[in-house]
Symmetry: C2
Subunit: 242 residues, 2 copies
DNA sequence: AAGTGGTCTAGACCACTAT
DNA sequence: TAGTGGTCTAGACCACTTC
């Protein structure tokens, strides 16, 4: 898979992000859009697109008629739920050095729930990959990914420790576009608790989610469990349509 | 507080949303942007802004070079976590007729955690409003909002059952802009369990969140608990920057 | 090759904030 | 009143999909 060059907008965004995090701006104030457009030699539209992305990420906020400002509290947020892609990255963002152990990696018949999620027939083969992520020695995340076996290319698979979105590109030629995630509180059962190193019945967060590719076809069904005492998620909630 | 007229973009968005949900489009295919611009008599930019919002909400998806299509799975999603504003609305979206009971409504000294969240001094007065939301008879959501007493105007308060964002506009002249929410799995304690009508120790989802106004100042600290068996949240997760 | 969405430009005018 | 972000236009060219 090839990726396109960064757009002008993304380059502007990266440039501004650097100025923001390195504190190169007086009073946390970002220069007017017209000035940025002039200085960087691009149109105001391009500047505005970049600022819109930064605002959505919580890095800045804008006040009509007043100006654009750095959003200090927003900058502190790691692991923004709507943007999580790999748990390796999440753990790194928290300052951990993550390690991965593959617990299960085999093809088996999919259960009903998975078949429904992946729009395949019940009993169709799926590749099941179960992984445990640790920070140093403490287990933090337990995940179970299920991919329709029909999507697998004939290439021999090696290195299933890679993040699932890389695996899908490498061995299925599918690019993960988004997840639809359901957030469920659970009391961990004996097996899950043992793997995560906590007492049975501990309250934990879990995700039950389906990943879709660019053509809007389901490609992976994932369930994940988290040690709440070691990893906590944040989210920015805005009014619909804003 | 006055609200501005819907922008052209929002009008276009509403128009398209209606065509989408009422199934007025052949093959779930949305007309090309140039055609929409011509038909509606607006520029392509306006059309694209409206489509971008609809795509972000999960109602449609776009394929470069191919077209724009209705996203059936996305249309089914109610209570999108990033966009929740009032629990009344959430319960209505689920087809319930919600009712609200105000359990607590008084001014008291804020605890340390709330003081830190609201950037006030520990011990400063806060207005505490605790509410229980029911669908028919079953309790579903328990919330506790804390607002700095210093924000209250002198007007006599009546009708504290209104949604918190309305309350803030009415009695504090502040408009809620966004929440920063932390998602926490808990085992309900005796008091919480009793109010929600479940067994003590039941796993539940909770939010611990701070609401900010347009000037990026914290105006409300909220904690909420949910009956997972009656209400479940979904979320669309995308790659950062997309 | 034709058609579609993606990016970018240059400029106009409006709404709101600060002073 | 000056300056800022918000909205909108008209048009150009590019990247990708489809036939």
């Amino acid at each position: 898979m090839i990726t396109r060059n960064p757009s002008l907008t993304d380059q502007v965004k990266a440039h501004l992000k650097e100025r923001i995090v390195n504190d190169w701006l007086a009073d946390g104030r970002i220069p007017p859009e017209a000035v940025l457009a002039e200085d960087l030699g691009v149109s105001r539209t391009t500047i505005r697109d970049a600022l819109a992305k930064l605002e959505h990420e919580g890095a800045i906020f804008r006040k009509q008629g007043a100006g654009t400002f750095v959003n200090e509290p927003g900058l502190q947020i790691k692991s923004r739920l709507e943007e999580i892609w790999s748990y390796e990255q999440v753990l790194e963002d928290h300052g951990y050095t993550p390690s991965v152990e593959v617990l299960i990696d085999q093809i088996m018949a999919g259960d009903e729930e998975t078949a429904a999620a992946l729009a395949i027939a019940p009993g169709d083969d799926v590749l099941v990959i179960e992984k445990l992520f640790r920070e140093d020695d403490a287990p933090v995340v337990l995940t179970r990914n299920r991919i329709p076996a029909a999507l697998l290319t004939d290439r021999e698979r090696i290195g299933d420790e890679m993040p699932i979105y890389e695996f899908l590109e490498e061995y299925c030629s599918r690019r993960l576009a988004y997840y639809v995630s359901e957030i469920i509180p659970v009391a961990l059962n004996a097996e899950q608790a043992k793997k995560l190193g906590v007492k049975r019945g501990t309250a934990a967060l879990s995700f039950d989610e389906v990943g879709f590719d660019q053509n809007n076809e389901p490609v992976v069904h994932a369930t994940s469990y988290f040690r709440d005492d070691l990893l906590r998620f944040r989210l920015i909630r805005r009014k619909a349509g804003a």
